[in-house]
């Protein structure tokens, strides 16, 4: 694949990964699914869903897949990663 982003190791600084999620939007489009329902479907507590939506917690890979499975969408639709401090080689 062309235009693959690579880390700029020579720059002397690590790239910054900013992970965001669309859980609130996905809940809205899933017939206004409640936080309790999503928590039950993902086997986590309601507080974890609240923390995720508020951007106060980054889930494990397994939980990320569980949430995507609960919505029936690919994981990339739930979580997005913005990488700063990289160069296109």
């Amino acid at each position: 694949m062309n235009g693959v982003f690579a880390m700029d190791n020579n720059a002397g600084s690590d790239p910054k990964f900013t992970i965001t999620n669309n859980i609130r939007r996905l809940r809205f489009f899933a017939d206004e699914m409640t936080q309790v329902e999503l928590a039950e479907k993902s086997s986590v507590s309601r507080q974890t869903i609240i923390a995720l939506e508020a951007g106060k917690y980054l889930p494990s890979l397994e939980l990320a897949f569980r949430i995507a499975y609960a919505f029936g969408v690919p994981i990339g639709e739930v979580f997005e990663c913005k990488i700063e401090g990289i160069m296109n080689k």
Binding site: S45, R46, Y57, L58, S60, E62
Partner: protein, 161 residues
Amino acid sequence: MTYNSKKNIISMAAGVLTIAAYIITVRAGDVPAPEDIAAWAKLMLVFIGIGIGAQIVIQILFHVIYAVGIAVKENDKDGEKTKKIINASMKEDERDKLIQLKTLQIGYICAGFGLMAALFTLAGGAPVVIALHIVVGSSAVGSLAEGCAGVFFHERGVRNG
């Protein structure tokens, strides 16, 4: 404030009450002689038991009040919605375990410093009863610090790694 934060605060309150009760008892003067370590140890064991009992009672009361609060807030008459919310709140998941690990570490550090301080006190020639109080006191402080850290991580958020 989340369910876990409230639970931590209630737990800390029970701890503070137990410590306060111990301090009041000791200050009242009806205590063993400083060299009677066995009697001091028994007194401390009694208060540890009282502390555990207080924790259980206060937690039961908290959960009853929490459930009633949710039922009133949600205007839930049959209790189904309340049950669902409580079950979803009480479930322990990866985030809780991560916070638990971080807070336990703080508790162990406090207890470790207490043990070191007690050893230094003994090495300095202080009575054993002082060292005993430092060990038990640091464990109590560690437990409170754990609670504070738990509230902090639950409210502010926690990061992996």
